[in-house]
Symmetry: C2
Subunit: 324 residues, 2 copies
Amino acid sequence: MELGNLQSVRKSIKVVDATLRDGGIVNNFYFTDEFAKALYAANLAAGVDYMEFGYKVSKKLFDVTKFGKWKFCEEDDIRSVVGENKTDMKISVMSDVGRVDLATEVLPKKESVIDLYRIATYVHQIPTAIEMIEFCNKMGYKTSCNIMAISKNQESDLKNALEEVGKSPVDIIYIVDSFGALYPEEIRRVADMYLEVGAKYGKEIGIHAHNNQQLAFANTIEACAKGVNFLDGTVCGMGRGAGNCFTESLLGFLKNPRYKMDPVLGFIREYMKPLSKTTAWGYDVPYLLTGLYNAHPYAAIDFLKAGRTDYEKFRREILGENEF
Amino acid sequence: MELGNLQSVRKSIKVVDATLRDGGIVNNFYFTDEFAKALYAANLAAGVDYMEFGYKVSKKLFDVTKFGKWKFCEEDDIRSVVGENKTDMKISVMSDVGRVDLATEVLPKKESVIDLYRIATYVHQIPTAIEMIEFCNKMGYKTSCNIMAISKNQESDLKNALEEVGKSPVDIIYIVDSFGALYPEEIRRVADMYLEVGAKYGKEIGIHAHNNQQLAFANTIEACAKGVNFLDGTVCGMGRGAGNCFTESLLGFLKNPRYKMDPVLGFIREYMKPLSKTTAWGYDVPYLLTGLYNAHPYAAIDFLKAGRTDYEKFRREILGENEF
């Protein structure tokens, strides 16, 4: 199969901007309405294919006074930004397994401007994820299955999971390097594994990378070169811990004339640079260490919040070397 | 040839820490003596194979009142840090083509603690670079030829240059992505080209990457996987513009028990974090743009120094679109 090269266009590629969703983890989703509207306008003008507005989780499970609206993605809140969204940019939300009341909180597609439900799951939750996928599919939505933290899984377990997901009505299966632990050569191997399942069951493959080792962009474009079509980014890489692949890097890299950098560059100046003065995300030493040792970034987030700089001790903590 | 894998050790790999040299470009080489001594101690304890102290350029060509000592790397200045350097860490300096008076400023090896002269050259200067290599070689030094800004060269010109350098007495030929313009798949192709010449003439290959597109570490380890053995890094990536591959990332990535992260992590806390409060380097939007469009980073450095944030206009400036 001819996949193209650095000078060609592959129209099956889709850029997914997840700034409000993964970036929302950084600031508990407290974005201003102006920010969300400006980001929507920028993504639209930039040719971004999907904009993810946030999580769709149940208000019964989380204290609504402790999170901004994009933790919950109520239909009216999305519509206050996008209206009827009569554009060619699709809208996605993410739901963690077990965190949304499907029967009461997922509207039929014809009543919603949401196009894509992305179901975030760990390998051990796959059967529940598939139930959610089946439900959302029946309600008329496109769905993806985002299998998180795969760097912690045995390859054989992951293969089993992929087979189960492959048999489901899901449209897209995502490679998610939650810990920013994987190197490009590992990502290429993982991409091959996913693409094989994708070819077998007619599914698209996506990638969501984290920047702990400053490999998010590299891993994303390496996966893309293999045939992975759904590419996640966030503006300025805003996302949990070390953050993500930068949307602006992707837009610059892709040669499809559909993609324009300027709208996002303007958004960076007007919104992201001011935000970055009060809100911290992105690469730092403790994230390198959790990525390197394949550990959840929460340890690094706590380390930085506590104002710690004893990197050496932290390194031993992650490795469990203090436990002997 | 078995090159190893992510779990194995390849003893021919050498880590070259160029913090004083490439980082010196950021602060005109005004490092404190304490900083240089602490970096030497950290690199030594970390198992770094080569530490580059700075440039060796002629004091006749540059105003000595405008640069710190590591712009010139006088023998006595290096010795004030390393003494006789009775260690297994080697010492390197870099000389730009035509910027050092060989006859008066390069001592015979037996009078110097310097081990390696790295000759930085553009493709069109190769014959002069080879004269310098021959001179340094005769004086008893190991030499490398660092061909800069190769993303601006035609492949055929670069191949010719590599053949000429291959016939010289040089020990190491470096891939230098001065503009941070190259993607991993390009780096792999370039690495193959260099490694072929290396195999033909018995030369080692090295890589010096820049982080404009946040690809410096990715490109370095991808080249390494191909067989490139000399890997440049700088602590916290300190270097011109967007900076370099991070030494600490390399030390974490490499599985040789020789390499220890803790000494460098301590150095980051004690020296790099304080320095970063007064001195700016590293990834930012304008560097992404010069990398993406294969332009010299000086435009981005000027842009940031001028306090500009009109990224869109800057993008058109780099592309020359204002010239029509």
